[in-house]
């Protein structure tokens, strides 16, 4: 019994190692490609004999990656803050006050989740041009906020209903606190766990967004990381070393955050997986 158990364990461990190696292959190839000097035409499977970092500096200059980093960071940060402040504020009455009006709007917010964002692309593009918002941070931020607002409200409302005791708010009300005061001083601090999840979901998806960025941020000064990378790839398909270096640099911040905060990432993203 124990002998077969041991054998089984060894088999499982071997299998796990094998799967891990298979999953690492694309990353390994990305790294070897990025580290190879220009004249090095050896196979992508071979680790470079001489590690060269010139691809990184060249790709950084050519793609203006620094500027794209800043753009991506600004858009991600402001979208996340707006989502959290406006979303939690919106969810509070929708979760707590079951009036007909609120029931209707809650349903509306949830129903909007089903609309695939891209299907509204044509008229949305129109609208953005009409507003004169092409190539601005505003459009990128508001668009992302709109795309994630229904999910944010859904998560906050669920959390408020299930875990925040009503008595706290009632006590504060008797003490004469205003609605906003009750919300921001008493309810909001208690929403920390779900706020962390929403922060992670929105940051991961907005940082990685390409669909919207490519439509509305066409001016090169406004490019986010994904758009710069796509353009760079389009014009340098034969210089894969440079593309690999640029790709590696642009995925680095999120990867580092993930490796350090893995537990929170997995938990947060799982709670948002309703969206897909």
């Amino acid at each position: 019994m124990t002998y077969t158990d041991k054998k089984k364990k060894r088999l499982f461990a071997g299998l796990a190692i094998f799967i891990t190696l298979v999953h690492i292959i694309p990353f390994y190839i990305l790294i070897t490609t990025a580290l190879k000097a220009k004249g090095d035409f050896s196979s992508k499977w071979v680790f470079p004999k001489q590690i060269s970092f010139e691809n990184f500096s060249e790709a950084w200059e050519l793609t203006n990656l620094g500027n794209s980093f800043i753009n991506s960071a600004i858009i991600t940060l402001f979208s996340a803050v707006l989502l959290i402040v406006l979303g939690s504020m919106a969810a509070y009455p929708l979760a707590r006050r079951q009036t007909k009006l609120n029931k209707f709007f809650y349903f509306l917010f949830i129903a909007i989740m089903i609309i695939p964002p891209l299907t509204a692309l044509v008229p949305l593009y129109n609208l953005v041009v009409d507003f004169g918002m092409m190539n601005t941070y505003d459009v990128a931020i508001l668009n992302n906020v709109a795309a994630f607002m229904p999910l944010t409200i859904f998560l906050y409302a669920g959390f408020i209903r299930s875990t925040i005791p009503k008595e706290l708010e009632e006590a504060a009300k008797i003490d004469g606190a205003s609605t906003l005061g009750i919300f921001f001083r008493i309810v909001f601090p208690l929403l920390k766990p779900i706020t962390a999840s929403i922060l992670i979901i929105s940051c991961v998806y907005i940082w990685n967004d390409y669909q919207f960025a490519i439509f509305f941020l066409q001016d090169s000064a406004m490019h986010t990381l994904t758009v710069s990378l796509a353009n760079f790839f389009g014009s340098n398909q034969n210089k894969l070393n440079l593309v690999a270096a640029a790709a590696l640099m642009s995925m680095l911040p999120m990867t580092i955050l993930f490796l350090f905060l893995q537990k929170y990432f997995i938990k947060g993203l799982a709670s948002g997986s309703v969206k897909g």
């Binding site: 461990a13 299998l15 796990a16 190692i17 891990t20 999953h23 292959i25 694309p26 990353f27 190839i29 490609t33 035409f41 196979s43 499977w45 979303g87 919106a90 009455p93 929708l94 006050r97 009036t99 009006l101 709007f105 917010f109 909007i112 609309i115 695939p116 891209l118 299907t119 509204a120 692309l121 044509v122 008229p123 593009y125 129109n126 609208l127 668009n143 709109a146 609605t179 991961v204 990685n208 967004d209 390409y210 669909q211 439509f215 994904t226 990378l229 796509a230 894969l240 593309v243 690999a244 642009s250 995925m251 990867t255 993930f258 490796l259 990432f265 993203l269 799982a270 997986s273 897909g276």
Partner: protein, 325 residues
């Protein structure tokens, strides 16, 4: 010695005044109290108005406007356009590209869903065992989830590329001919399914892992006493109790797969021709490259309908199974 201010005020108006004020307040409270109970709770609608405005402007209005545009021949930039009734819909239904694109979209949606669920479940079953270092395996499998699908597409491009791709290096080493997998219309759609599966199999795995860990060990112990084989245990205990996880995974993967965009742009750009185009990339082409905005809107409405029907079907089907189980 100066009297404190509050005393001053009391002495100024006198004790009578104070008691008068207190009495008035009591009456006011008494009057208000029953009213407050009758009054409905306020909706506090101003708290969600900002969110509502943003969502309305950027999603709801464009969506409704898109339905309207799908009945026109607008080219995307001119000031005027004609109302053409159902012409665009007729055109769409008779356009062979529509059906090619729908076929691809369904392949991306359903193909990746099936693969992600089977592989994700197998990974979860493996990682549910007590193995050393399984945390590393989990991290590596999950890592792609947080990377942009566009970058993931490029990473796999290095693998499948014709010139200097890693796959062709292996083929050459084995003495075989190089293949141009990404330009082959029969293979490249499957490569896209594969890359999408590779990227998001971690999500399915994590959801299944959580599902497995919530199943009580008592069931298995009882089954073992009854002499049930491992396969019987899986079929009669694990699978039925895992149904809620299966529902979530099916629905989110179908929606994600049907909306696929970035990976396709990175790997094939929808080509060769329209061979690997999905509904999302086709719409993008129609609008930005072919100046066919009215038709793009028609395709958009069609896409919304397909996603809606399929995700609801998956939801209803698996929910029913959950109840039975």
């Amino acid at each position: 010695m100066a009297t404190p201010l509050y005393r001053q005020s009391t002495s100024k108006y006198g004790v009578d005044m104070m008691s008068e004020l207190v009495a008035r307040r009591k009456v006011a409270i008494a009057k208000k109290a029953p009213k407050r109970k009758e009054k409905k709770p306020s909706s506090l609608w101003w708290m969600y108005t900002p969110s509502l405005v943003i969502v309305f402007l950027f999603i709801l209005y464009p969506f409704l406007n898109g339905i309207q545009l799908s009945f026109t021949n607008w080219n995307g930039f001119s000031q005027s356009y004609d109302w053409v009734g159902l012409d665009q819909y007729k055109r769409m239904l008779t356009d062979p590209t529509t059906w090619l694109v729908v076929k691809n979209t369904l392949l991306y949606g359903i193909g990746s869903t099936i693969l992600q669920n089977i592989i994700g479940l197998l990974y979860a079953l493996l990682l549910n065992q007590s193995i050393r270092m399984k945390a590393i395996t989990r991290t590596v499998i999950y890592l792609p989830v947080i990377i942009s699908p566009l970058i993931m597409g490029y990473i796999w491009y290095f693998f499948f590329a014709y010139q200097g791709g890693a796959l062709n290096d292996v083929l050459l080493f084995l003495g075989l001919d190089k293949i141009n997998a990404l330009a082959n219309p029969e293979w490249n759609t499957w490569i896209i399914v594969f890359v999408n599966t590779y990227q998001y199999v971690g999500v399915a795995m994590i959801i299944y892992l959580a599902g497995l860990q919530s199943i009580s060990k008592d069931y298995y112990e009882a089954a073992q006493i009854d002499g049930a084989s491992a396969l019987q245990q899986f079929k009669n205990i694990t699978l039925p109790l895992l149904m809620p996880s299966i529902t979530i995974n099916m629905v989110i993967n179908i929606i994600g797969g049907l909306k696929l965009f970035d990976v396709i742009i990175a790997l094939t750009g929808g080509g060769p021709g329209n061979a690997s185009q999905s509904m999302s990339t086709f719409m993008y082409d129609l609008y930005f490259k072919r100046q066919d905005a009215g038709y793009a809107a028609t395709q958009g409405v069609f896409m919304a309908i397909i996603i809606l029907i399929l995700s609801l079907a998956a939801l209803v089907y698996f929910r029913r199974k959950e109840v039975e189980a």
